[in-house]
Amino acid sequence: MVPLSWYLIVSAALFSIGVFGVLSRRNGVAVLMGIELMLNAVNINLVAFWRYNTTIASVTEPVPSELSGMVFAAFMFVVAAAEVAVGLAIIITVYRNWRSVIPEETDTLRG
């Protein structure tokens, strides 16, 4: 088996790449993609910690807390799906109004 730290390193690298994408890209859609990468990095961590840290008391009777990692990851999917749906709707609306998908240029509300 691969030790836990390897999964954590992959996840840390994925998160850093996501951070780089969010900070550096000009295009709003690309920024959202960076956020997706970061969410997935968190998800790898959740599942990896769950797999390596859970002690199973009895094989036949599961306790809900023995499934916490999977459950959390499942909720992350929900959040990610909601985020993408709303985020892309906002980007398309912004594009219609400003003819731009660059977050810095949509600054009408700035005084």
Binding site: M1, V2, S5, A12, M33, A48, A81, V84, I92, T93
Partner: protein, 178 residues
């Protein structure tokens, strides 16, 4: 010492897919290709889930990301097409690259290596048994389990759906009035 068996090789394959795809996402000039790279990366993550004995999550990952989110992204890329072919890809390229590298170094040197690296405890999962998908289903709807978060999640999804429709629709009608 680490044994180079099936799962180790598979881990490396999926790790390379994940990170390579992610690099493709943030460096690609063409956003449509960026979306495809995102899918490669998330497919790698699904592979990691399989290795972590969570096949249900892997299937949901493929279904949600490749079946739904990828399609959404491709549509968004095409609907905002005329301005996606920008000559300038990045703003603040070097500061953010430096920040990302520093973050990674900090995470690895500061947290992962000292806490989990040399620790024998984390070389193997504690138990060989893994909970099945049936158990996950029961935990999600049982009273002492996660039924409340489950319901909240469904409300969030409904809210997001309505929100997305309202946001995308309003502009439509305004344009028609103009």
């Amino acid at each position: 010492m680490i044994q180079f068996d099936f799962s180790t090789i598979a881990f490396f394959v999926f790790a390379v897919l994940t990170l390579g795809g992610a690099l493709g996402v943030v460096t690609n000039r063409n956003l449509f290709r960026g979306t495809i790279w995102l899918m490669v990366s998330l497919f790698g993550v699904a592979g990691l889930y399989v290795l972590l004995s969570a096949p249900f999550l892997a299937a949901v990952q493929v279904l949600v990301y490749i079946g739904a989110i990828a399609i959404l992204f491709t549509f968004a890329v095409m609907l905002t097409r005329s301005l996606t072919r920008l000559n300038v890809r990045y703003t603040r390229l070097w500061p953010s690259a430096l920040g990302a590298v520093l973050l990674f170094a900090m995470l690895v040197i500061g947290v992962i290596w000292p806490v989990f690296g040399g620790n024998e405890l984390y070389n193997q999962p504690i138990s060989d048994v893994v909970r099945t998908t049936t158990d996950l289903g029961v935990a999600l709807v049982s009273g002492e389990g996660y039924v409340l978060p489950f319901e909240v999640a469904s409300i969030l999804l409904t809210g997001a759906m309505i929100g997305a429709i309202v946001i995308a629709r309003d502009a439509d009608e305004e344009e028609m009035e103009q």
